[in-house]
Amino acid sequence: MSFDPHTSSLSEDNGAGAQTLDVSLGPQHPSTHGVFRMNVRLDGETIVKLQPVFGYLHRNHEKLAEKMSWLASMPYTDRLDYLCPITNNWAYAVAVEKLAGLEVPERAEYIRVIVGELTRLANHTAFLGFLLGDMGGWGSALMYAFREREKILDLFEALTGARMMTNYMRFGGVRCDLPTGWLEKTRAYIETFPAFLDEMEQLLTGNEILLARLQGVAPLSAERAINGGLSGPVLRASGVDYDIRKVDGYGIYPRLNFRVPRGTVGDCFDRFMIRLLEARESIKLLQQAFAQIPAGPIVNPAAKQRGIKPPAGEAYGRIESPKGELGFHLISEGGEKPYRYHVRPPSLINLTLLEEMCIGSKIADVMVILGSIDIVLGEVDR
């Protein structure tokens, strides 16, 4: 039978004399991450069908970008994944640099790695809090996570002028140099970060209730994860060794020493743990970048910001954002505006296997599964 979200509730016979029940979860359930709706068909408490509905946060980002200059799209990329604006800026800058053939000075690359990995820390700590919120542990974990995220946002404010809408990257570099004392402050803060992760692990990872809610829930095989086009921590939790920082080796990542953590079964617990492990790797990356950052220019002097006209052609630039592969596919006709501007958001692609992961689970697990994918609706709907 067809699935009509507008006609509700009791529908087809499940064969045992009882009927299935259609429930509309969302668009604004407190645990859903923004305005996201799932039409769920239940047999008892078990999910037999799930249909995601999105588009509530659609802002016409891609079409708008075709109507404005290359530079003017940069602040709009902040609003894609609004928890990690800097990596969005970075991906767009990488794509335009590829199109225009611009080199990035050494110091700018180091600054990019520093702010990018800080963003990853902020995102992964926030993820821990949100996931616990999804499970009903609304309180301690979220507050602890946001306490740390707040400190990172303060660093961003001192550097870029805004806590979240940073607008920091520029074609061929970054917008402004590090203010006096910023690097020392960040270095001192990062030294305290492993203690926070230890505290989080002590608070969470041994907790029997948390283990019961996460272990063995919605396992995803490596084959399915690859076939679904997933990327980022969700893919690596299924045991696939795929990190664009290693695969593409963009920027200065080949020079830095870090490992790519992987999961084994790809259940919710693996997706939870992989964020903690990745955060520890990010700290290693940051410490190396602090030690090696050179002096020099922060933006390529040959790069034009206003009125940049990349030569006709197309380019796909991608980076490993905290949520996965974030790519920008740009087509230029040699003019002041892009001819086509396409975003490949990791959240949307990671969401495509949601139904498959949820079928057979209980309805109480849906929130946990959704939380473990780590989506931001600004990026899904754009």
């Binding site: 200059s69 709009y76 303060d154 550097l159 305290t192 608070l203 907790n207 209730i209």
Partner: protein
């Protein structure tokens, strides 16, 4: 220590440590405490930005740096700037804005107007508490409200303001030096011309006496 429920107890030790510790951690080294806004206000970092404003040097009427070139109006991503160029009594355009409005209900504080301004005349403010009862009118900020002195800019972002002043000063010096060179060149050219004329006159003078002879 691995009996059922030990993980929960370990977690509760963490929360207890945080709760009790909050009474003893006077330095707030690890913890963030709630700021008692509005009695207590945060000290914003220098780079902090909210909405743009226009800088003037000295007098707000004559010292306005903006020349109404309209680059910011063109480059503004959400198109929230509106500029009309001023005209003098004869109707000739002058390099000064007559109207300069920013709709801060549209402005997203992206700072692109600041970056593209070639005259260093627009900068980011760090004001907040901009709410109003009126939905549209009072959120369109006019030129009179936007104009703020260079001293004010120094008070909110001294590092950047000093750098801007240095840039303007260097540009002024360069211009002066160029003007001086041009003036010297002009003087030299004038002198050369005068010398040439003099030489020509002398030549004519020297040739003059021969004329009557020819005539004769």
């Amino acid at each position: 220590m691995n009996f059922p429920g030990s993980g929960i107890i370990k977690g509760m030790v963490v929360t207890a440590r945080n709760m009790i510790g909050s009474y003893f951690d006077r330095a707030h080294a690890k913890r963030l405490t709630t700021e008692q806004y509005p009695e207590e206000r945060p000290k914003l970092p220098e780079a902090s930005r909210s909405f743009p404003f226009l800088i003037f040097d000295g007098d707000p009427e004559t010292g306005i740096r903006c020349t109404s070139c309209k680059i910011c109006e063109k480059e503004c991503p959400p198109q929230c700037i509106y500029i009309v160029q001023d005209r003098d009594a004869a109707g000739k355009p002058i390099r000064r804005p007559k109207v300069f409005n920013i709709d801060i209900s549209v402005c997203m504080g992206c700072q692109i107007c600041v970056e593209v301004c070639p005259f260093e005349s627009i900068r980011m403010d760090n004001i907040y508490e901009m709410s109003s009862y009126d939905r549209f009118g009072s959120l369109v900020v006019t030129k009179q409200q936007l104009l703020k002195s260079n001293e004010y800019y120094h008070s909110i972002n001294h590092t950047e303001a000093a750098a801007t002043d240095a840039r303007i000063e260097a540009a002024r010096k360069k211009k002066e030096a160029a003007a001086k060179v041009a003036a010297e060149k002009a003087v030299a050219a004038k002198a050369a011309k005068a010398a040439e004329e003099k030489a020509a006159a002398e030549k004519a003078e020297a040739e003059k006496p021969s004329q009557p002879e020819q005539a004769a």
